[in-house]
């Protein structure tokens, strides 16, 4: 949008950098600055009045009530489960190694590079077991992504669409987490049924805790959504006028300066009242 002089309305070029208009000589910055400042304020407050309900809904969905806070805490808790050992490896010499989420990536990379004889911590494991563990960890990865999506969708869950999105992401996180746990249990079963002294890959405490916490998260989420989250909308004003009333006046064809002028209070022109007058 080209810049124009606020008085004469002529277009200003980039090289017209001086503060005075080259055509009418008016000071472009100062000319009717107070009125333009009030126009800016009207516009800013109008934008804020349109934006504020969204903020109120986000606030209500996250920290607006005790159930909402509980729901948020339950959504964060499964992350604690991930910090515990997700896998345990017991070797032939009964040595136990706990594998946490930080150990998983080099382990998966090594499995993908292996030429048919996968190993874990340098010890060979049956291929079926390794495949089950890899698939389980892939589901874990999906579950974590879904959990992240669920956390991001929670502040927007006060609308129908937002609530559906939060339900879907929460359910996906739980389903993937449960799938991961199931595959890790299958993995342990495979190794136990195999050669008795072979290396055993099993689900660690973290996998169980993670899945249980996801189930708790889904339950609390379901209960809170069923009960409903009350939203307290903050009343907004524009130039001191309630936002709804102001919008009606705008739609009626009034300009912001006309609205401001029509809503000013003009004190009476008589003598000021006696200090102790009746």
């Amino acid at each position: 949008m080209k810049a124009t002089c606020p008085k004469c309305g002529r277009a200003l070029r980039l090289r017209d950098w001086r503060p005075c208009c080259p055509y009418c000589g008016v000071h472009i910055v100062q000319y009717r600055m107070e009125e333009r400042l009030q126009d800016d304020a009207d516009q800013a407050e109008l934008e804020y009045a349109a934006f504020r309900p969204r903020l109120d809904r986000c606030r209500a969905a996250t920290i607006g009530s005790k159930p909402a806070v509980l729901r948020l805490c339950c959504a964060l808790l499964p992350i604690a489960g991930c910090l515990l050992p997700l896998l345990t490896v017991r070797t032939q010499t009964a040595e136990r190694t706990a594998i946490t989420i930080l150990d998983l990536f080099p382990m998966i990379a090594a499995y993908l590079r292996s030429d048919g004889s996968p190993t874990v911590q340098g010890v060979p494991v049956p291929p079926a077991c390794a495949a089950a563990a890899a698939a389980g960890l892939f589901l874990l990865f999906l579950s974590l992504l879904s959990l992240l999506a669920h956390l991001v969708s929670l502040p927007w869950s006060c609308t129908d669409k937002g609530a559906r999105r939060a339900r879907r992401t929460g359910s996906a996180a739980w389903a993937a987490g449960a799938g991961c746990l199931a595959l890790l249990l299958v993995c342990a079963g495979i190794t136990r049924r195999g050669v008795p002294e072979a290396t055993i890959l099993a689900a660690g405490a973290g996998a169980f805790v993670y899945t249980v916490l996801l189930a708790v998260m889904r339950t609390v989420d379901f209960a809170v959504q069923r009960r409903g989250v009350p939203v307290r909308y903050t009343p907004c004003t524009i130039a001191g006028i309630p936002a709804d009333e102001y919008r009606l006046l705008l739609e009626g064809g009034m300009t912001p300066s006309q609205i401001r002028a029509s809503h000013t209070i003009t004190p009476p022109t008589g003598d000021p009242p006696e200090p102790n007058g009746t």
Binding site: C24, Y31, E34, D40, E45, E47, A50, P268, D271
Partner: protein, 497 residues
């Protein structure tokens, strides 16, 4: 009997001092701009120059010396140039807009230096030229950034709201992510994974360039949409007037003195203590985890604190909260004496104490980050109130010069203090530790000394008188004066063809 020729002016329904002037889009752009200031790996610059560019340390010291002299010299004339600037876009927007792209390009060239395969002297000259150009651009840009923050909106309530929101949201959106990414991948590469240490230069180059571009885009968006909303007098200050503006501006002199004294603390940081005494660098991050949840709350408390206390009181509270709350940590650490049995050398108890300390002072973190900026903006309004002219440029120069000087003194004296007590600079890389005596000195410089130096730094602020009725009177008169300037400009301009 009523006099029909006299009528009081109409009174607005709402107080203009409480209105919002900056819209949602401009506010979002301001947040992006605030985030762009920290969304970088500038804290790794020194490491980049020494370990990646591998510029000879003597040449590096020479560049620093030349740059420091250039920094002081260009501050002096930049301030007056900025203060005398008058364009139809305002005083600061031209510098922000026209220097944004060159500044970004220079920073990209800096991070790309290792790619060019220069010789040692080639690297030196390239670095010197880039540094001088970047310093010049950054001086203008820095003053303009400070100035636009003071003129984005004419009233302090709206200004404080913007600063608080920007600090809160930019922190929550992850302005420090590049630094965490840098730390994580540096450690991974140094352990020989993902290609090993040979890929560290690529890490610096790619992160440096990417964060510069992202930060540059965010900042440019703000520069494009921002507006200066403070009406100012047409008169351009002379050099003498500019200097007088600062010398007769008691609030800015007091603030500058306070910040200068704070720079002369000769203290040690939490990082120094956890590295040299507890030998657990990651503790620095771990003790801050609970405080991360308190951080957003602290910004929500800023308006409540402002309703109860003046900016002066909040400034003093903010400056001293960390150091005074650290005194119980110090006394706790002293249990068991100065030797190996001293609690200050035990990781777990000190981690708990430091966590509690950090969580406690974080309640005042919002105040600490918002109030000094708001007070600096107030001093610029004070300058306009007293002299009729705004001197953002010279005020920035004054503050910058004083704190740089104090910082330089601190940089010289602090190592000498460590040397005097027998600090072993080779101990860390050799896997050794400092002596018990040195550890206790570091602990004292971290947890005890700042309590006194910060109290001394707060003394000038006791004489800061821009609060209460004086402040209200200042803003009322400024409002009238600006309205009068606008009315004059609107009323008596001549028509010209």
């Amino acid at each position: 009997m009523a006099n029909p020729s006299v009528s009081a002016p109409p009174v607005q329904v709402c107080d203009p001092r409480t209105r919002r002037y900056v819209g949602v889009r401009e506010t979002a752009a301001y947040v992006a701009f605030d985030m762009s200031q920290s969304f970088n790996i500038d804290n790794e610059r020194e490491s980049f120059i020494k370990n990646i560019l591998m510029i000879d340390l003597r040449l590096y010291a020479l560049v620093r010396g030349i740059n420091a002299a250039w920094d002081v010299a260009n501050d002096l004339f930049t301030g007056i140039i900025v203060d005398r600037t008058q364009t139809r876009w305002g005083k600061f927007k031209p510098y922000l807009m026209f220097l944004a792209i060159p500044g970004t390009l220079l920073a990209i060239c800096f991070w790309l230096l290792p790619v060019f395969g220069l010789t040692d002297m080639g690297k030196f000259w390239a670095y010197l030229v880039l540094q001088l150009l970047m310093e010049g651009v950054d001086t203008f840009h820095g003053m303009a950034r400070v100035g636009i923050q003071a003129t984005l909106t004419p009233y302090p309530l709206d200004r404080t709201r913007l600063i608080t929101l920007a600090n809160l949201v930019s922190g929550a959106l992850g302005e420090k992510i590049p630094q965490y990414v840098m730390q994580f991948f540096s450690d991974v590469l140094r352990k020989g994974k993902l290609g090993g240490a040979a890929r560290i230069p690529s890490l610096y180059v790619s992160l440096g360039v990417i964060t510069t571009i992202i930060g540059g885009v965010g900042a440019f968006w703000f520069f494009y949409v921002c507006k200066e909303r403070v009406i100012r007098n047409e008169e351009k200050p002379t050099l003498r007037q500019s200097i007088r503006m600062v010398l007769h501006n008691k609030p800015i002199l007091l603030l500058t003195l306070s910040e200068t004294l704070a720079q002369l603390s000769f203290s040690k940081s939490k990082g120094d203590y956890v590295r040299d005494v507890l030998d657990k660098k990651t503790l620095q991050t771990i003790v801050g985890i609970p405080a991360a949840f308190v951080n957003p709350i602290s910004y929500g408390l800023v308006p409540r604190f402002q309703r109860r206390f003046s900016n002066k009181t909040l400034y003093i509270m903010g400056v001293n909260c960390i150091s005074l709350l650290n005194l119980p940590v110090y006394f706790f650490g002293c249990i068991g004496g100065k030797g190996k049995n001293g609690m200050y050398q035990k990781v777990v108890p000190m981690a708990v104490a430091m966590t509690l300390h950090e969580t406690a002072f974080t309640f005042l973190f919002g105040v600490r980050s918002v109030i000094p900026t708001e007070m600096r903006n107030e001093t610029m309004d004070y300058c306009e109130w007293k002299t009729g002219m705004r001197g953002e440029g010279m005020i920035s120069v004054t503050k910058g010069l004083a704190t740089k000087l104090a910082g330089a003194v601190n940089d010289v004296v602090s190592p000498l203090i460590l040397y005097a007590f027998g600090y072993d600079e080779k101990a860390y890389v050799k896997g050794g530790t400092q002596s018990d005596r040195m550890k206790f000195v570091i602990f004292t410089l971290y947890a005890f000394v700042p309590a006194f130096t910060n109290l001394i730094a707060s003394v000038p602020i006791l004489f800061y008188n821009l609060h209460g009725q004086e402040r209200d009177r200042m803003y009322a008169e400024l409002h009238e004066r600006r309205a009068a300037i606008a009315a004059r400009a609107s009323a008596d301009e001549p028509e010209q063809s």
